[in-house]
């Protein structure tokens, strides 16, 4: 499954919005099969922050571990945010090119 973050908005900043986005998406996550890869696509996102990322990506990492794969992004706010999330949580996201 590929999750396109732009479908939650292009300015992803607050904790509250991150939480609400994940909650709204939970029913779609139920369709994911046992060994399926869950890809996160940042294309179209303009601004991304650690608060939103922590609320949305961290629970997905906790659930899927290395099956959660972040697709490459050149957006500087995505890059610095992911670095920050990895530092805070002491883990490394799996990454892949498109």
């Amino acid at each position: 499954m590929k999750i396109e973050l732009k479908k939650f908005g292009t300015t992803l900043l607050s904790r509250q919005s991150g939480k609400e986005s994940l909650l709204a998406f939970l029913p779609s996550l139920e369709k994911i099969s046992k060994d399926e890869i869950v890809e996160i696509d940042f294309d179209g996102v303009v601004t991304f922050s650690p608060s939103w990322g922590e609320e949305f990506l961290k629970p997905l990492y906790d659930k899927y571990g290395n099956r959660l794969v972040l697709l490459e992004s050149k957006n500087p706010s995505v890059l610095v945010t992911l670095e920050m999330l990895e530092e805070i949580n002491e883990f490394k996201f799996s990454r892949s090119r498109h």
Partner: protein, 241 residues
């Protein structure tokens, strides 16, 4: 010849606020009117001009330092987080068109977003007087200003690090230490993120909470916490880009 005094209706129109706000400001002494013999409020054109052209940082400083709690001017006031989200999306759109920021503006917006959202996250339900934040920017001067009259970093950080004693210690921790563990409150690491952004985006950051101050620039990313004699309870921030 230009009139020296104008009616409350005209003053409100020029300032882009309601006459009710002007009456409230007059009562609180924030922006006083003079009265005609019949009791009508009149406003000095000179004072109105100076209010319009006041630098944003001075307006925010005056607001956080004021001993009389009043709401900021409407154009700067975000009473709720959703108002702030709308205003920051507006800023994002405008910044995209500012020369020299094309490749870094998402970082500037993310930094301002983390700072503003921190104010809401850590003060929700506990604002000591004015609910919400001051958020303004001047794209010509390339400056963004945020402020709150919240509890300040020491008080909110003490919930997870009770050993903290001074505002200076708290500000240093907020910028340098990863706060892990979410209990007893969801604690962001927003200021560590902002510090990371400063050298990458080449911005200048000023942050004051209580009497504790930090200034970080691209050239000087060391975190030296200074002291300001003009102390206040919340936070005051300037981002220059």
């Amino acid at each position: 010849m230009e009139k020296e005094y104008i009616s409350i209706g005209k003053a409100a129109k020029i300032l882009g606020i309601t006459t009710m706000t002007l009456r409230r400001w007059d009562k609180s002494g924030k922006f006083s009117a003079i009265r005609t013999p019949s009791g009508r409020r009149m406003y000095s054109v000179k004072q109105i001009k100076s209010l319009i052209s006041a630098p944003i940082f001075s307006s925010a400083t005056e607001w956080v330092l004021s001993s009389t709690p009043t709401e900021p001017e409407e154009k700067f006031y975000c009473q709720t987080s959703s108002v702030f989200q709308n205003k920051i999306i507006e800023l994002e759109k405008k910044l995209a068109g500012v020369s020299g920021t094309e490749s870094i503006y998402p970082l500037i917006v993310a930094a301002a977003g983390e700072i503003g959202n921190n104010s809401f996250d850590h003060n929700i339900g506990n604002w000591p007087d004015i609910v919400g934040i001051f958020f303004g920017y001047d794209l010509e001067k390339r400056q963004i200003v945020l402020a709150d009259r919240g509890q300040g970093i020491l008080k909110t950080l003490k919930r997870v690090k009770p050993e903290l004693e001074t505002q200076e210690q708290a500000l240093k921790v907020a910028f340098t230490e990863i706060i892990s563990g979410r209990a007893p409150e969801e604690r962001g690491n927003g200021l560590k993120f902002v510090r990371k952004i400063v050298p990458i985006a080449g911005i200048e950051l000023f942050f004051q909470t209580g009497s504790a101050v930090v200034k970080i620039t691209k050239k000087n990313n060391d975190l030296i916490v200074g002291h300001n004699n003009k102390s206040f309870r919340g936070c005051l921030v300037s981002i220059k880009f």
